[in-house]
C-alpha cells in the first residue's frame, strides 16, 4: 500500500491522538485569543496549511466573531516593510514548521510584542521556536509528499481552539465524536469507490465550495492536482459567476462540495449555469437531492454538524485524488517534481 493511502486510512487514529493530547494546550492558547487588546487574527501559511487557514477564517469569524486576515509574506521578506500589528494575534500554520516566509511573519509579530501561536507537526521546528505558544498537531511522521493526516489534524487543532475559545461544552462533545465519524467516512469513500474512469484523461477540473467548506474546496483541488497532475482549481460560487465560469465548457468536470448547512443553497446556484454549459457535475454531499442531480456521486456520512463537516467532506476528495492517480498510472508517494518540505521566502 502507498504511504498516501496508509496515512489517509490513519486519519481517525491521528485525530483521536490530537484530541487526547492537545486539549490542555488548546485551552492555554485560547486565553491569548481572549486578550482584550486582540481585535483580529492574522494567519501565515502556505500550501495545504493555507486551506486550514481558510477553515480558521470562517470558524473563528463565525463564532468568536473576529475577522481573520491572511498575512502577505512578501511584505516581510521581500519588501522589508511589515505592517504594524497592533490588535493582532498572529498564527503560523505549517506542518513542517520550516518555511522561512511563515517563520518571518511570526518573528516580526514577536518583535512587535504581539501574541503568537504555531500550529505545527514539529514542536522543535523554527516556527515552533519562534512562537510564544505551540499547538502540536500530533499527526506523527507523514511520509507521503501530499498531506492527508497533517491537513486533517491541523483542521482538528483549529476546531479544538474554537471549542476552547468559546469554552463550549457542546462543541467539545461534537468534536469528540469526530474520529468515529471520520472512520465511517473513510470506510464509505473507500468502499463505494466512485466510477472515475471517465475522468482519467481529463485535462483539469473545477471545485466549487463556500463558507465553512471553502478551504475544503481548495484542499481537494490541491490534492487532485498534486497527485494526478490534473489542472484543478477552486472557486466560491460567487467568484465563479463573476467571470471565471466563461472558461468552463462541455465535458469539463465540476465538483460541488455541498454538505447540508447554510452554504449549500449558494453552492447549488451554480448547477443551472454549469449544466447549461454541458459541464459534468460531481457532488460531495450528505443530501440525497444534491447527489441525485450529479453525474458522479461522492456521498458523505450523515449527522456531522456543519462546523465540523470539513473534516469529513475532504475525505471523498482525497479518495478521488488517490483513485484518479492510480487510473493515470502515477506514483502516489512521489508527485512529479515535488518535495515534502518546500522552502520559500
Amino acid at each position: 500500500m502507498s504511504w498516501l493511502e496508509a496515512e489517509l486510512r490513519e486519519q481517525p487514529e491521528a485525530l483521536a491522538r490530537l484530541l487526547e493530547r492537545a486539549t490542555a494546550t488548546a485551552r492555554a492558547a485560547a486565553a491569548a485569543f481572549r486578550r482584550p487588546d486582540v481585535g483580529y487574527v492574522l494567519v501565515a501559511s502556505r500550501g495545504s496549511s493555507s486551506n486550514v487557514a481558510r477553515y480558521a477564517q470562517y470558524l473563528l469569524g463565525r463564532a468568536h466573531r473576529v475577522p481573520v486576515a491572511f498575512a502577505t509574506p512578501s511584505l516581510y521578506t521581500i519588501y522589508g516593510q511589515p505592517p504594524r500589528l497592533d490588535g493582532a494575534i498572529v498564527v503560523g500554520i505549517s506542518q513542517s514548521g520550516a518555511s522561512p516566509d511563515v517563520v518571518a511573519v511570526l518573528a516580526e509579530a514577536r518583535a512587535q510584542r504581539r501574541p503568537t501561536l504555531a500550529i505545527t507537526n514539529d514542536p522543535s521546528s523554527p516556527l515552533a521556536e519562534t512562537a510564544d505558544i505551540v499547538l502540536p498537531i500530533e499527526a506523527g511522521p507523514e511520509r507521503a509528499v501530499a498531506a492527508t493526516k497533517t491537513y486533517l489534524n491541523s483542521l482538528g487543532a483549529v476546531a479544538l481552539l474554537f471549542a476552547e475559545i468559546g469554552d463550549d461544552a457542546r462543541a467539545r462533545a461534537e468534536l469528540a465524536r469526530m474520529p468515529e465519524a471520520l472512520e465511517a467516512q473513510i470506510a464509505l469513500s473507500l468502499g463505494e469507490s466512485p466510477p472515475l474512469e471517465e475522468y482519467r484523461d481529463a485535462v483539469g477540473a473545477t471545485v466549487v465550495a463556500r463558507g465553512i467548506n471553502y478551504g475544503t474546496g481548495f484542499e481537494i483541488a490541491l490534492k487532485i492536482r498534486e497527485l494526478s497532475g490534473l489542472v484543478t482549481e477552486a472557486y466560491s460560487p460567487a467568484d465563479l459567476l463573476h467571470g471565471p465560469i466563461a472558461a468552463i465548457g462541455s465535458g469539463w468536470p465540476v465538483l460541488l462540495v455541498a454538505p447540508s448547512g447554510p452554504a449549500r443553497p449558494s453552492v447549488e446556484e451554480v448547477v443551472a449555469p454549469i449544466r447549461a454549459r454541458g459541464a459534468r457535475l460531481l457532488a460531495i454531499s450528505d443530501v440525497k437531492a444534491v447527489l441525485r442531480r450529479a453525474h458522479t456521486r461522492l456521498p458523505l456520512v450523515a449527522g456531522v454538524p456543519e462546523w465540523l463537516s470539513p473534516l469529513t467532506a475532504v475525505v471523498p476528495g482525497q479518495v478521488a485524488a488517490l483513485r484518479l492517480t492510480e487510473l493515470r498510472g502515477l506514483d502516489l508517494d512521489r508527485p512529479r517534481g515535488l518535495r515534502k518540505v518546500t522552502l520559500t521566502r
Copy 2:
C-alpha cells in the same frame, strides 16, 4: 472596433480624468484612514475588483503599514454572523456598486459605526448610498462585459488614496505622469503585437506574479479566461512551488509578470522548475534579461516606479487576451454566458 478594444485604448484618458476630478475626494477619504482607532483595513469586492483589492493589500500594507484583510461575505449574508469590526476601516470596491454581498459588508460596518468608503463607478449605486465616503472612479460608462478602464481607474483610485494618506508629494508627481506612461504602454503593446498563434488551441495557462503585481497576475488570468475561454489561473511563485506546479506539463503556457523591482527575483525562481517541465514561458517585463529568457516576450515601457507598475503591467495582458480571443473567433463584447453586472449574495 469592439467596445473592449475601444475602452482598452481609452484608459489613459479615463485615468487622467480620475486624477483631475477625484484628488480632493481622495484627500478627504485619506483622513479616515489616519483615525487613531484604525488598526487595519477590511476590503469587500468581487471579480476584477478583488484584483484591485490585492493591489490595495500590498500598497497600503507597504507604505501606510496597516494589514489589509479581505471580507468573507458569506459570514454576513449566509451565516448572519458578521465579525466585530473594532479597529477596521471598511472599503467596498465595485464598478457597478450593485453586488448585494459587497453592500452587505459595508452596511454591517456602518451599523457598527466603523468608517466606510466606496470605490465605485456609480455614485448613485446601493454601495455608494451605504458608504460614509464615496470615491467615484470616473471611468465613464463601460460597455464591454469584461472590465478594462474600470479596473485601471480603480487601481488609480487606490494609488491616489495612497499618495494622499501619506501626503506624499513625490508619489503625487509620479502618479500624475501615469496617463502618459499608460498611453506609451498601450501603443507599445498594440503595436508590437506578440505572436500568439501557437497558443490559439491551448486549453489553459498559468500566470505567476508576486508582491505589488500579485493582483495584476489575477487580473490578466481573469481577462484571458473571460474573453478567450482558456482555463487560466494565477499563483504567487511561493504558492505555485508548494504543490500546484505538479499539474504544469510540457507545452503548458506560463506567463511571468516580472517588472523590475524587489519581487522580480522571486518570480524568476520559477523559471528553472517550469523549464524542467517543458512548459512554454511568456514574460511581461521591462527587463531585457527577463524577456530574453522567455519564448514569448511582452515588453513593458521603462521608467515606471514599481508601486505604479500594476497600471502598465496589466496592459500587455489585456492585449494578449484580446488577440487570443480574436484568434479563437469569439465575440470580445459578449463573453460566453457572462453579464456586465453579477448579483451574488
